[in-house]
């Protein structure tokens, strides 16, 4: 009786193991097929092969292991496991390949950027010389003064069209001077601050002041100054330097100021 009971329970156990094995087998078969497909894709991609050969080899080895194990009974878990690992290596290989392609692309774009920066600098220099009106620049860069905020250069209102953020070409010489100064003083950084007069909506003024400051920052960066040396602030109609009651006062208040750090790179705090 005892023996019968035991063999019965053994039979049940085997049957349930068989069923579980079957279910496990199905999902492991799926995982295996998935891994085969993933591996096939990376193996045929010359870019992936070139940039991540080790990952592809690992994917292949693990796939081989999963395939060998799949011929044994009761190995479904191991098959799934190694198939999973193989698929992951294929995915990692694809990512590494994308990364390398992007890095190569970046290197090409960077060269192009340097070429264009040089061309732009030459164009601006030629433009400034053609104008031949250096005096205008004296007006444009109204003043460079040393105060408690450090060395501050003021770019006047006439460098921008009314309500627009783009810097006019009459700013070329001033901008080139700033670029040259920053290139000779590689540790110095700048904060570019935009200001407007009090006419109109203060939200709009704030946005315009920020955009104008950003436009100056963009030109500096276009001419080869690293972006991490340039901070940008917009103050809208705050901190006026003259009365907003007169037209000449308002013109004074519409300005972009470039605050230079000292030669150690220490910049005064923003307002």
């Amino acid at each position: 009786m005892n023996a019968v009971a035991r063999s019965l329970s053994l039979g049940l156990l085997l049957a349930s193991a068989g069923l579980a094995g079957c279910a496990g087998h199905q999902s492991s078969e799926q995982a295996l097929q998935g891994a085969v497909a993933d591996y096939q894709k990376v193996k045929e991609d010359t870019n992936v092969l070139r940039s991540a050969p080790k990952d592809v080899i690992r994917a292949g080895e693990l796939l081989g292991r999963a395939e060998r194990l799949s011929s044994y009974i009761g190995s479904a878990d191991d098959v799934s496991h190694y198939a999973y690992l193989s698929s992951r290596y294929s995915a990692i290989a694809r990512e590494h390949s994308k990364l390398l392609l992007n890095q190569e692309k970046l290197a090409r774009l960077e060269l192009e950027r340097q070429r264009l920066q040089l061309a732009l600098r030459e164009a601006k220099l030629a433009g400034a010389q053609q104008q031949g009106k250096w005096a205008e620049d004296q007006v444009i860069s109204l003043s460079t003064q040393q105060n408690e905020r450090g060395l501050v250069m003021t770019l006047g209102d006439m460098l921008f069209d009314t309500g627009r953020a783009e810097l006019k070409s009459s700013a070329n010489r001033t901008v080139l001077k700033v670029v040259q100064f920053l290139q000779f003083n590689p540790k110095r950084v700048v904060r570019i601050e935009g200001y407007t007069d009090s006419t109109g909506d203060s939200e709009v003024n704030l946005a315009l002041s920020k955009d104008r400051a950003q436009a100056v920052a963009d030109v500096l960066s276009d001419l080869g100054i690293e972006e991490d040396r340039i901070q940008v602030e917009g103050y809208g109609d705050q901190y006026s330097v003259d009365s907003n009651a007169s037209e000449s006062g308002r013109a004074q208040n519409r300005r972009v100021e470039i605050v230079f750090s000292d030669d150690k790179g220490r910049l005064s705090a923003p307002r």
């Binding site: 990692i92 990364l99 264009l116």
Partner: protein
């Protein structure tokens, strides 16, 4: 009774083999360290919980530690091995995304430069 006597040594042998099988799986200490390093590395390059593969890696690593404490060394090893690659994939994805953002940024700058050069002429 004689039937039982006959079957018992076989049964004992099977149990023994099963036990040996268990005992033979060494504690995957090295693999766990590797996995921890991979997760740390992924986090270091900026992978966050928004990266599903990193979350998977962390979950599996936690499970591996539980298995380790239970002395289920095979399960621990499998979980840890999978978690390592999940973390490596998360790391690779983050690096790819960063490089894509860089490409986009340089392209914006180039566009601006071309526009300025075009406007100047």
């Amino acid at each position: 009774m004689s039937f039982l006597l006959k079957i018992q040594p076989v049964f004992a042998a099977v149990v023994l083999v099963a036990l040996v099988g268990c005992a033979n799986d060494p504690a995957p200490t090295e693999q766990l360290k590797l996995t921890e390093q991979a997760v740390a590395q992924a986090t270091a390059v900026g992978a966050t919980d928004e990266e599903p593969d990193l979350v998977t890696a962390q979950t599996k690593l936690t499970q591996a530690r539980v298995d380790m404490a239970d002395k289920s060394y095979k399960d621990a090893r499998m979980q840890a091995e999978q978690a390592e690659l999940d973390a490596r994939l998360a790391e690779a994805r983050v690096l790819t995304q960063k490089s894509e953002a860089q490409v986009a940024q340089v392209n914006t700058r180039l566009e601006r430069l071309r526009k300025q050069l075009g406007a100047g002429q």
